[in-house]
């Protein structure tokens, strides 16, 4: 995770906010619960303590933003109001897809914005964020 955070911080002109406090995270989890929206997964809350919201090259990662609804996990999910929001939490997006966490499948997913179909399952948060920010996977697969 530290390696990923460093990679993200090194991206040119990466915009990020101050790390979230424990109080802010607890408050957001409560708001999500009250509004029947899925909670923030544990590893993502760990990330928020160090790296809160990100914007780079047309790709956006949500976090906690007390100033406005921009990139705020709770406000953005409330506005999107997607089906299955009790189970699937949206954590970011690019021009075509959402990054989401599916609690019943216990995995991060890339979901097409129009069809809402899962186009990719990510093994963990690190791979999900790499996918969102187009950080090259240089491993030979085949």
């Amino acid at each position: 995770m530290q390696e990923l955070i460093q990679t993200l911080k090194n991206l040119p002109l990466m915009l990020t906010a101050k790390p979230a406090t424990a109080e802010q995270i607890i408050r957001t989890q409560q708001d999500l619960k009250i509004n029947n929206i899925a909670p923030i997964p544990h590893d993502f809350t760990e990330l928020l303590h160090q790296f809160n919201t990100a914007e780079f090259d047309g790709c956006y990662l949500f976090g906690i933003n007390p100033r406005s609804y921009h990139l705020d996990i709770f406000a953005e999910n409330e506005m999107l109001n997607l089906p299955d929001k009790e189970n699937v939490l949206i954590l970011g997006y690019d021009e075509f897809d959402y990054l989401a966490y599916n609690h019943s499948k216990q995995c991060y997913q890339i979901i097409d914005k129009d069809s809402l179909e899962v186009v990719q399952r990510c093994s963990d948060l690190i791979n999900a964020i790499k996918y969102l920010f187009k950080i090259e996977n240089d491993e030979q697969y085949l």
Binding site: I34, D57, H70, L82, E95, R121, Y141
Partner: protein
């Protein structure tokens, strides 16, 4: 673009449109007792809207003289903006829809009904890849059964026959009919053949390969042979834009310094322009240099597809979805969000429950930094061509 235009109207209209994205939802939530945080947001936004409404009078009085065309325009804008604010405040969503349309119409932006002609998942995947590049492999479930069999046997060295790249005719692959619509893939025809040969794909099996298989082969081959990175349409567009419109963008940054700084603050971003007097100029210079060198989208902006990707089914040319004439560099918040205000997903739902209605932007509009014409940039290739010809003739005359 004028250098000294005060951003008065711009700030107000921009804010107001940002609020309309949130407010109908927020007001709806007030009626539901348990929605604690949404309720408090709604009151804050309502206060802001009232402030905006009051500020309209000053805006109106100071910007134009009576009985002029400009005066009539401002008056009309004031009336419909006031109506919008009142309707938002009272939660009348059907009226809000009409008000927004009126405002858009006044700004020469048209809403158009489109007959939905959805593209297939494979077609969309190729548009995405052409736009974003080859950063990741498709997921395994997307591969064809034939290709999955090849992957299994590849590791066991069971594919021992070897074909020359020349033996492959890409036209025999059904998915190639999509690929050949993209110049970026056509340029790589030979690499596709080399990848097929290296993977020992039987000639008779290529007719069963799908688009995901071909992209996986291309990516794998590119990594293995350390080929130069795939320059995607997004990068090409940004480089194209900055090559032709650098000065206009610089003027925009100069005139809209306050708007940009406010956008930073709204996002709670960890960057303090107040402490360092050169910070803003450094930010502008770094944004422009990253655009030139790497084709990165500048911070706070995004690229908008004018003709929506999901509706761009064309028998002839899928790549038009990513052509510069279909792309527009736009401030993400509130304008890009606003452009997608009426988007529908598979359920046909939007926040206003409206179906297939899109904002129509002019083909020549390449940059949208606000409703004011001074904050927009148009790319006019015909004029550019004419200027080039005139310069050429002038130079020739001088030489003679």
């Amino acid at each position: 673009m004028k250098e000294n235009t005060p951003p008065g109207i711009e700030l107000n209209l921009g804010k107001e449109l940002a609020y309309i994205i949130v407010l109908p939802k927020a007001l709806d939530a007030i009626s539901q007792k348990q929605r604690r945080r949404i309720k408090s947001n709604a009151s804050i936004l309502y206060e802001k809207l009232l402030g905006l409404k009051n500020s309209l009078d000053d805006l109106f009085i100071t910007t134009s003289k009576k009985n002029t065309e400009e005066y009539q325009y401002q008056l009309y804008k004031k009336i419909i903006t006031e109506k919008l604010i009142l309707n938002i405040a009272s939660g009348k969503t059907s009226e809000i829809k009409q008000n927004i349309e009126q405002i858009m119409k006044e700004e020469n932006l048209r809403f158009i009904e489109r007959e939905e002609s959805q593209i297939s998942a494979e077609e969309k995947f190729l548009i995405k890849t052409d736009f974003q590049g080859l950063s990741h492999y498709p997921s395994q479930e997307q591969f064809s059964p034939v290709f999955q069999r090849y992957i299994k046997t590849q590791n066991k060295n069971e594919n021992k026959h070897t074909l020359s790249p020349h033996n492959y005719n890409l036209e025999e692959i059904p998915a190639w009919k999509y690929f050949k619509q993209f110049p970026s893939f056509v340029e790589r025809s030979q690499i596709f053949k080399l990848a097929l040969a290296e993977f020992n794909i039987h000639k008779q099996d290529i007719k069963n390969l799908n688009s995901y298989d071909l992209i996986a082969l291309l990516k794998n081959y590119s990594i293995k042979h350390k080929l130069p990175p795939f320059e995607n349409s997004k990068m090409k567009f940004i480089k194209f834009f900055i090559k032709h419109h650098e000065q206009e963008l610089r003027n925009y940054y100069q005139v809209n310094k306050l708007v940009i700084i406010q956008a930073y603050r709204n996002k709670g971003l960890n960057f303090n322009f107040d402490e360092n007097p050169n910070a803003y100029q450094d930010f502008v210079e770094r944004s422009i240099s990253q655009m030139k060198e790497f084709g990165y989208v500048p911070p706070l902006f995004n690229i908008h597809h004018k003709y929506p990707v999901k509706d761009c089914k064309s028998e002839k040319n899928l790549s038009l979805a990513n052509a510069p004439s279909n792309l527009c560099l736009i401030l993400q918040s509130p304008y890009h969000q606003m452009m997608h205000l009426f988007d529908t997903n598979i359920l046909g739902k939007t926040i206003f429950n409206r179906k297939v209605k899109r904002l129509e932007l002019p083909q020549e509009l390449i940059f949208f930094g606000g409703f004011d014409k001074n904050f927009q940039i148009y790319h006019k290739p015909k004029e550019e061509y004419r200027e080039t010809i005139l310069t050429f003739i002038k130079q020739k005359k001088q030489r003679n």
